[in-house]
């Protein structure tokens, strides 16, 4: 390894590396967000209580079967193959000419959605039964219960798993180079193709990938902390709405007349 080469490649190709990293981060971020939304919706649909009889039961059964097929199919086939089938396949078989970036986001989203729906289902199952009962007892229906009580708690609980998906997506977008999306792996390949310094070029890519994934995990850890909030409750620390006239007087006195 030649340090001079390394620096030379990194500086000379900096715009290309950064452009590639941007595309990678963009695709994986949008893909993770859309995938999480898909997973959340599927999780809510799959936990709808099935009535004992009637048309509703049949409809829910059919929807569940369709969703199961979706999940099993996308979890059970490699993303690189899905990319080929969806991008080139749809172009050849149906004549649909997709934009590469949109195709990439689409592939990453539905893939993440398949994984996330199972994570969300696990998250919903893990919520205490009492939360559902309390929500039902004050008259909420399934959707109200889900969106006001259960899902906010599920989001907190599945945040680590979601972060995991995000990190996996940052790395796995590299397979999208097969459909020539100009993400980090693809651009590095062309840089290396120009200078024939494969080791140094891909070493730079390695470092960039690591910086991205590491930053993302740190940020998510911070968000987890923020959501959890403090363990103890500080009385009267942020209680303006319950301030009594006596409190107000005391506060004014303490501040020597300045409110």
């Amino acid at each position: 390894m030649d340090l001079q080469w390394l620096i030379k490649i990194a500086t000379e190709n900096a715009p290309m590396f950064i452009r590639g990293a941007e595309v990678t981060l963009f695709i994986s971020m949008i893909g993770t967000i859309i995938g999480s939304v898909i997973g959340m919706l599927i999780g809510v649909i799959r936990t709808i209580p099935v009535p004992e009889r009637g048309v509703k039961k049949v409809v829910i059964k059919i929807i569940n079967v369709i969703l199961s097929i979706y999940i099993e199919f996308f979890r059970g086939t490699p993303m690189i193959v899905q990319a080929m089938v969806i991008y080139y396949g749809s172009a050849m078989a149906f004549g649909i000419d997709m934009d590469r970036t949109y195709a990439a986001i689409f592939i990453v989203s539905i893939n993440t959605g398949a994984y996330m729906s199972e994570i969300v289902r696990g998250g919903i199952v893990s919520i205490d039964k009492g939360q559902f009962e309390a929500a039902h007892a004050i008259g909420m229906n399934h959707l109200q219960t889900m969106f006001n009580v259960v899902i906010p708690q599920v989001i907190r609980n599945i945040l680590p798993a979601t972060g995991n998906e995000f990190v996996i997506n940052i790395k796995d977008t590299s397979v999208l180079s097969v459909i020539s999306v100009s993400e980090l792996f693809f651009t590095t390949k062309s840089i290396a193709g120009n200078n024939f310094r494969y080791f140094e070029s891909f070493f730079v890519a390695c470092v960039i990938y690591f910086i991205m994934t590491f930053t993302v995990t740190r940020i998510l850890r911070y968000i987890e902390h923020k959501i959890d909030g403090p363990e103890d409750y500080i009385m009267y620390a942020n209680q303006m709405q319950v301030e009594t006239p006596e409190d107000m007087l005391r506060r004014i006195n303490n501040n020597n007349g300045n409110i």
Binding site: A137, I138, G139, V149, P230, Y236, V242
Partner: protein, 246 residues
């Protein structure tokens, strides 16, 4: 007096196990009814059936003259008319104290935010928890949680309040604060249906005491009748066991 809830021939089985057998029982407006009995006698199941958290296997629940077990009746609307307080509190963990008391009003009763907040503050004052509006459930003690749970149920301004062993999961020293709140509610004329192991509370506060044993109502009457002159052998047996001094 006007009957709010009238239960006729109610039964409930879990598989082959029959938990409630042909229960006839009613609650009138303004009445405080305490249900006592040993564990497994079906008293919690009865309360959960009244709230439709458990679907009864047979019988009728008449609410203001309408059978709410009919298929065309909307259980969601009916449930909003009943307030429920659980043994395990079941406060919504993602909401703070105020949010717990307002979310139902806003989403189910479609009240405005300000109105919901005003109502919530009114009932939080009733239970003495108005200083904790921004606290999260995990920051509260058991007794405080249960008082918030009571305020949450009251905020929906229900016709009947159901209490499912509200003090059974509390430390002994916290039982008192919850019972005081419940007693003041009873005195304010609220219709209450209370499943409890607190015999002293039942004796003092109840208008009527129902003793359940093995899925049937063994005896019911005024507290004086039940606690001083029980007629049934199993009532005597149960009271001897629970009131026994150590």
């Amino acid at each position: 007096m006007e009957k709010v809830i009238d239960i006729q021939h109610l039964s409930k089985s879990f598989g082959a196990h029959e938990v409630l057998k042909d229960i006839d029982f009613s609650v009138s407006k303004g009445e405080v009814v305490c249900i006592i009995g040993s564990s497994g006698s079906g008293k919690s199941t009865l309360l959960r059936c009244v709230n439709l958290l458990e679907k009864p296997s047979g019988g009728q629940i008449i609410y203001h003259g309408k059978n709410i077990l009919n298929d065309e009746h909307d259980p969601v609307e009916y449930r909003a008319k009943l307030g429920m307080v659980f043994q395990q509190f079941n406060l919504f963990n993602n909401h703070n104290v105020l949010g717990n008391c307002t979310v139902g009003q806003i989403k189910v009763l479609k009240r405005s935010k300000e109105e919901a907040k005003k109502t919530a503050m009114k009932y939080l004052q009733v239970v003495g928890m108005e200083a904790f509006v921004n606290a999260k459930p995990k920051q509260l003690s058991g007794g405080q949680k249960q008082r918030v749970a009571i305020a949450r149920a009251l905020s929906m301004e229900p016709e009947v309040m159901l209490f499912d062993e509200p003090t059974s999961a509390l430390d002994p020293e916290m039982v008192g604060e919850v019972l005081i709140v419940m007693k003041s509610l009873a005195e304010s004329g609220l219709t209450m249906l209370v499943v409890t192991h607190e015999m002293a509370f039942a004796e003092e506060v109840a208008d009527r005491v129902v003793f359940m044993d093995k899925g049937v109502i063994a005896e019911e009457g005024t507290p004086v009748q039940i606690f001083n002159n029980p007629t049934q052998e199993r009532t005597k047996e149960f009271l001897k066991r629970t009131l026994k001094k150590i």
